[in-house]
Symmetry: C2
Subunit: 399 residues, 2 copies
Amino acid sequence: MKNTLGELNHPARILLGPGPSSMDPRVYRAMLAPMLGHLDPDFLRIMDDTQVLLRRLFDTENHLTFPVSATGSAGIETAMANSLEPGDTAVIAQAGFFSARMADMAARTGAEVIEAKSEPGFPVDPQQVREAARGKKVKLLGLVHGETSTGVAHDLDAYRQVADELGALLVVDAVATCGGMPLRVDAQRLDICFTATQKCLSAPPGLAPFTAGPRAEEVFRARKSRVTSWFFDLTYIMNYWGGERTYHHTAPISMVYALREALRLVDEEGLETRWERHRRCHAALVAGMEAMGLSLLAAPEHRMWTVTAVKVPPGIEDAKVRRRLMEEFNIEIAGGLGPLKGKIWRIGLMGYSCSEANVLLLLAALERTLAEGGFKLSAGAGVAAANKALSHSPALLSR
Amino acid sequence: MKNTLGELNHPARILLGPGPSSMDPRVYRAMLAPMLGHLDPDFLRIMDDTQVLLRRLFDTENHLTFPVSATGSAGIETAMANSLEPGDTAVIAQAGFFSARMADMAARTGAEVIEAKSEPGFPVDPQQVREAARGKKVKLLGLVHGETSTGVAHDLDAYRQVADELGALLVVDAVATCGGMPLRVDAQRLDICFTATQKCLSAPPGLAPFTAGPRAEEVFRARKSRVTSWFFDLTYIMNYWGGERTYHHTAPISMVYALREALRLVDEEGLETRWERHRRCHAALVAGMEAMGLSLLAAPEHRMWTVTAVKVPPGIEDAKVRRRLMEEFNIEIAGGLGPLKGKIWRIGLMGYSCSEANVLLLLAALERTLAEGGFKLSAGAGVAAANKALSHSPALLSR
């Protein structure tokens, strides 16, 4: 007898990992908008709206601004596959898992890839990139704005300067930062920048908002070889998302609905107010963690606001704590990747998940879980410190 | 003053183009299931369910059965990019737009691509492929089961025989047929087969269900070079969808919910009942069209059941008719692509859109639209013929 499966029935988690983040009820609702054909005039208007809102998000006038029809990693691949070809040289600043992925994708284009690596928990020093690139004709300098694998942020302006010195395109992976930390594509002259829907935008995973400026477009046009991936070949995609709306592939319609709504909510809140919300929740989380006796992987000046890496204290079992948080409190946080597995927790406060209430709940839940695990801490200290930090830093606008 | 955008507000269309098709309310509802992390035990169970249901859909035991995290074209690219590398030879049977796309993707791998083309409206004769491949060591024979650009279906068994003679992998694009026309991956020995969610499965676009058998897996493992696309590299993807659940990229969670629900509905209806529903609605549509004096592009023995190509009669303006159908009746049908632009209409009866009611409504609406455009027809003849066809062919199971 064939087993039959029932309808979905799982709990509503509080998503405090490095993505996906929890979603606003309005974003869920947007996915219920009736399905449309991908060339329906009503859908074309929705695409137009989405592009207008994406330009506001990235703070750019770039014509080439649209969501790649796949998850965040597809944004990295679109950037690498369209910019690089055999004979080119790229420098990738490697501060963790996701910049290693960028280097992997760059290498698959046939380009030579120079890597400048940092120790886990540290950003790559721009000077190191300068030295690694010395004497080379570098076409592209790639980096990850905020490394979700370590909680480390890079200084984009310092990297813009290095890229200028090298005469290279600056490619910025803003998957975990865009919408949660200051980033202005035009003012900071980022040639290519992309993000993902399920992080600070709090839409479902499935799209990678992408923008490229005139210098990048020129590089795409000057290619000698075809892009090896048809799916990610911007030459064609832009006929669909650009003026002509020529059919390329069927857009993931419901995901575009959700993204449009999520961007509408970013617009409603205002970019700067949203950045500030992420900054102050992060500050409260850090104050609470430190008051509980936990220490952070990254130094204060290198920390992302949106994903925080906390060291697992000695004697405490990483996976057990995460399992307890999920089973008892319905909270998801993440462990470390690769060499940091078992050594850190990664806590995301992104988009809709980034709220004072979630900071306080997590600290309270973590306190109980750690105390049960035998970790010595001063009861209530974490929540008290977070509350103090929040009251010293009133929100620009209450949500 | 910055313009602000409102919530989505567009009509619910009746989607009778070549996809996306209309969706069952239960599939909409599934997308409202709470967002989960991509490594959450509850999500891993949902992935397991989805794989079980996909194996039933494809009628296969293949271990390597999962949804590629992007739209249908990504299924073609995953097949080509993983199977082929420089030095290989592929033969692609080209009967229209989507098989041309397959040939394009095959060529981007660096493989030599031999094309065997048919005239528009005709399938490719297997004999033609045999001759084109003569004297070549062919690694892969690719074809599109049902060409949505022309409404033409290929005989898979005849192609299996050619592939056997050539010692080649048989790769079948079943984007517009899987779930709507007979297709059994194991019994028909299709080495690689893929489809898309927004056609006969009636889930939103955004995933490409994919399956590959042992011979294909062997080819993937024996590659000398890396797959040029990281995103579509099965080596890594299968660690996530296979037993280990190692993180590759974040799955499009809400889309997986929708696909699981859509597959659950396929399972509830039963594959054969579902195929039969598509056959009889197609037959009724054809009877109605012919009774109205319209003629079809493809000969009866070559027609797909799921997408029907009808010739635009002389004196009638293609785009005007489609616009009227949309504006007056809220019905979407499609025009022709490439050389067939302006010459045919493409009518999809797929998944949830494939119902007796939709056949009758379309015929009635088309009759009025064509009559207003000056086309001579016998009033009521289309609907009468369709009703007669339907009553001569009772449903196996009423919906």
